[in-house]
């Protein structure tokens, strides 16, 4: 607390000296820089106020002090151990010198961004018999003087930004039925929105909005429509009741349309013959009205998912030039291995274009008007049959977010190629809170394409031309969220060698790399204080990066030890 008081006193002093030098400063928490609608719509370049830095989901910092010419001088400024194992995936979110970081188990750390001193720490006491299938948390949301975190036991908690004290704590749903939250809340116009996970446990997922001040629930929209709702007829029988369709990742927001966009997960259980129909709104992007939560549009990337291809990420909102006109685009590198260009409109979401960015053997065609794929049935898992498909269940791109740099005009995609999965479908009865995969689990395997010399790829795409600009290949799997900067760089970790790297955003050349404590699956961010640019990221291997490593090791008969344990790293240019 002492450090926070120092910051607050300093901030207050600066303000008071400027405005009213005769008044003595008070150590008031109100001197924390309140987060407003205006600030979230136009974040200051020196701050990182939300999951991807802006509502459009770019993962872009306009800061340009660190460049391809000087990035070799990047050096650690401070580090902090989080005290927790497993997947550290949250970005350091920074508001005028105060950094908020979440860790697995829904711990929230408030830090002095300059020094790494702990201002406060929220440690959630989890139920002792909780099941954590995805032991991670992907960050906080900010509004006014509060900090919001969704928890792995399916609560939404509002904390006082200055003290860390709980302002309110709301049950979003029952963890004993398999509901949990991994994403960073999306805050728009005083509404805190979260989506629920639990598709592998047969939940019926939803997105809900809560009043930022009081915690009152304002609306709840299921991603699996119930009886009487549009799309319900794309399900058969009672399959909708346990249909899954998790919401894993923070939505994006278009203020002009007053719509939020969300990626959705696969239908449960995995094999499609166990939930016949298209299964809206699984493996889709859906557009929700901010005020009502009503679904205003959707695009389903693939119907009747059978591959565990959650389309977890929300598309990036960016303008794309095609055919002589500007498209208000939604760009989504899919887990299904296709790069999707959609158009967001007041009346819904339109299909523009899709092409594979990794080798994909499932789709036989894409309808040029609707974008609906046709499938090769030999590669579609079903009950009682052994089916192999590529890319495997982790897909062409999983949850680690892609980024867009408006200066280079490139979209940077953290991809995985040359891996395949084999599944054997097996009917299973549903039990609340239990795994509900519909497969003969011990027979699930991963294989690598014969002769392949790489799996991970950082790809840069020009969406105007629809062409790939460059590719950097990694020998093994790549689980690195991507940050790009106005200085012309791309930052990403994600490999099992514990490296965090900087690439030239234009050429893809590796310009700097640093070996951290663990594998870097955290979302990197950038901020500035006193004119100095910093790059921040969490290193802490776990969850699906670790799972895929285990599958690869089983396939190859190897054993790869990637140490766990979370550390926050902050870098800046040295002398």
């Amino acid at each position: 607390m002492t450090s926070l008081r120092s910051i607050l006193v300093t901030c207050t002093l600066v303000t008071l000296v400027a405005l009213s030098p005769a008044v003595l400063p008070a150590q008031s928490p109100t001197s924390y820089s309140a987060v407003t609608e205006g600030r979230l719509l136009n974040p200051e370049p020196h701050n990182w106020l939300m999951y991807r830095g802006n509502y459009a989901g770019w993962g872009y910092s306009p800061l340009e002090q660190i460049t391809p010419q000087n990035v070799a001088k990047l050096t650690p400024v401070w580090t902090l151990s989080t005290g927790v194992n497993e997947g550290h995936q949250a970005p350091p979110i920074v508001n005028n010198g105060v950094m908020f970081v979440t860790t697995p188990q829904a711990q929230v750390l408030a830090l002095n961004a300059r020094t790494g001193d702990i201002l406060w720490r929220y440690k959630r006491e989890l139920p002792e018999d909780l099941l954590q299938l995805h032991p991670t948390n992907r960050g906080v949301g900010l509004w006014d003087n509060k900090v919001y975190v969704g928890t792995v036991d399916a609560h939404l908690v509002a904390l006082d930004a200055a003290t860390g004290k709980v302002v309110w704590d709301k049950v979003v749903d029952d963890w004993k039925k398999g509901y949990y939250i991994t994403l960073a809340p999306l805050v728009v116009k005083g509404k805190v929105m979260v989506g629920t996970s639990g598709g592998e446990l047969g939940v019926r997922a939803f997105i809900a909005a809560f009043d930022a001040g009081t915690g009152q629930e304002l609306w709840r929209t299921h991603t699996v429509p119930g009886p009487g709702e549009p799309g319900h007829d794309t399900w058969s029988g009672d399959a909708w009741k346990t249909g899954g369709v998790s919401v894993w990742i923070t939505g994006h927001y278009d203020p002009a349309l007053n719509l939020t966009f969300w990626g959705t997960g696969n239908a449960a259980p995995w094999p499609g013959d166990m939930h016949p129909g298209d299964n809206l709104y699984s493996s889709s992007v859906i557009a929700l009205d901010v005020e009502t939560g009503k679904i205003r549009g959707h695009h389903q990337y693939h119907w009747n998912d059978s591959w565990d291809w959650d389309e977890v990420s929300t598309p990036i909102l960016l303008d794309v030039q095609r055919g002589g006109r500007t498209i208000k685009g939604l760009v989504h590198p899919g887990r299904n291995g296709y790069l999707w260009l959609l158009e967001r409109r007041a009346d819904g979401i339109g299909f523009v274009d899709a092409k594979p960015f990794v080798k994909q053997e499932v789709f036989t065609a894409i309808d040029p008007k609707t974008g609906r794929p046709s499938y090769d049935p030999e590669h579609k898992p079903t009950g009682g049959k052994t089916v192999t498909f590529c890319p495997g269940l982790w897909g062409g791109k999983d949850w680690p977010p892609a980024a867009y740099n408006p200066k280079t005009g490139l979209v940077y995609i953290p991809a995985n190629d040359n891996h395949c999965s084999t599944l054997v479908g097996q009917t299973q009865s549903y039990e609340p809170g239990k795994l509900y995969l519909g497969i003969d689990r011990p027979k699930t395997t991963l294989s690598l394409r014969a002769g392949a010399t790489s799996i991970g790829e950082l790809q840069a795409w020009n969406m105007n031309s629809g062409q790939k600009s460059w590719t950097h290949q990694f020998r093994w799997q790549y689980w690195g969220p991507v940050l790009t900067t106005g200085g012309g760089l791309v930052f990403s970790g994600g490999t099992n060698d514990r490296k965090f790297r900087a690439f030239d955003a234009t050429t893809g050349k590796v310009l700097w790399e640093f070996t951290t404590n663990s594998g870097v699956t955290g979302v990197p961010s950038s901020f500035a204080l006193d004119g100095k640019q910093y790059i921040a990221v969490q290193s802490g291997w776990g969850v699906d990066a670790q799972r895929m490593q285990a599958r690869i090791d089983t396939h190859l008969g190897t054993k790869t030890d990637v140490p766990q344990g979370g550390v926050i790293w902050v870098f800046a240019l040295g002398n």
Partner: protein, 191 residues
């Protein structure tokens, strides 16, 4: 708490003596507590199957050579099934006594070994059986445990073994001989 307070008021209103009222309260509260309480010596075991309580497991009902059976303890006196906590799930495997490590054999009954069925990593409670290696693997994050040898960790992120549960056979059925050897469930981190 409100139910307990009501009960205390009733007991007090009846003018019962203190030792008697304490006994009455203890008995009245035993039912809900006993469902969440960890396995107790003397408990029997029944299959953990939703909606089908079944009868106490005998050695013959646990298939020799695997796969494992997941069970809940049952209070032998009241018949209350201790399914009030996921942490009470018990994994039973029937193996050849000669294949068991000495410490494990001492806790086994008729070749049946018992462990907490909740992974010490992040609390998953379903298991994939390797019949050849006689190991169990958690499908959530692939930790593998050697059920022949105190459920020690062979592979994966689990930080420690599964707590063992000593067994006996009494009256032809499997009976818990002692509490879990160690704390079941995951360990919350944080400095």
């Amino acid at each position: 708490m409100s139910a307990r307070r009501s009960l205390l008021k009733v007991v007090a209103g009846l003018g019962l003596t203190l030792p008697l009222s304490r006994l009455a309260v203890t008995r009245a509260l035993a039912q809900p507590d006993s469902k969440a309480a960890r396995p107790q010596p003397g408990d029997k075991l029944i299959r953990a199957v939703a909606g089908a309580p079944g009868s106490a497991l005998t050695p013959a009902t646990v298939p020799a050579g695997g796969p494992p059976v997941i069970a809940y303890p049952m209070d032998a006196t009241t018949g209350a099934v201790r399914d009030g906590s996921r942490l009470n799930q018990v994994l039973l495997v029937h193996l050849e006594p000669r294949d068991l490590a000495e410490e494990t054999r001492a806790r086994a009954a008729a070749g049946i070994v018992a462990y907490s069925a909740v992974c010490t990593h992040t609390g998953c409670d379903q298991w994939d059986w390797d019949a050849r290696a006689k190991t169990i693997k958690c499908p959530c994050h692939f930790s593998t445990f050697d059920v022949k040898d105190a459920a020690r960790v062979l592979d994966g992120p689990a930080p420690r073994r599964l707590p063992a549960l000593p067994l006996n056979v009494s009256g032809g059925v499997l009976v818990v001989a002692g509490g879990f050897v160690g704390r079941p469930g995951f360990q919350q981190g944080g400095a």
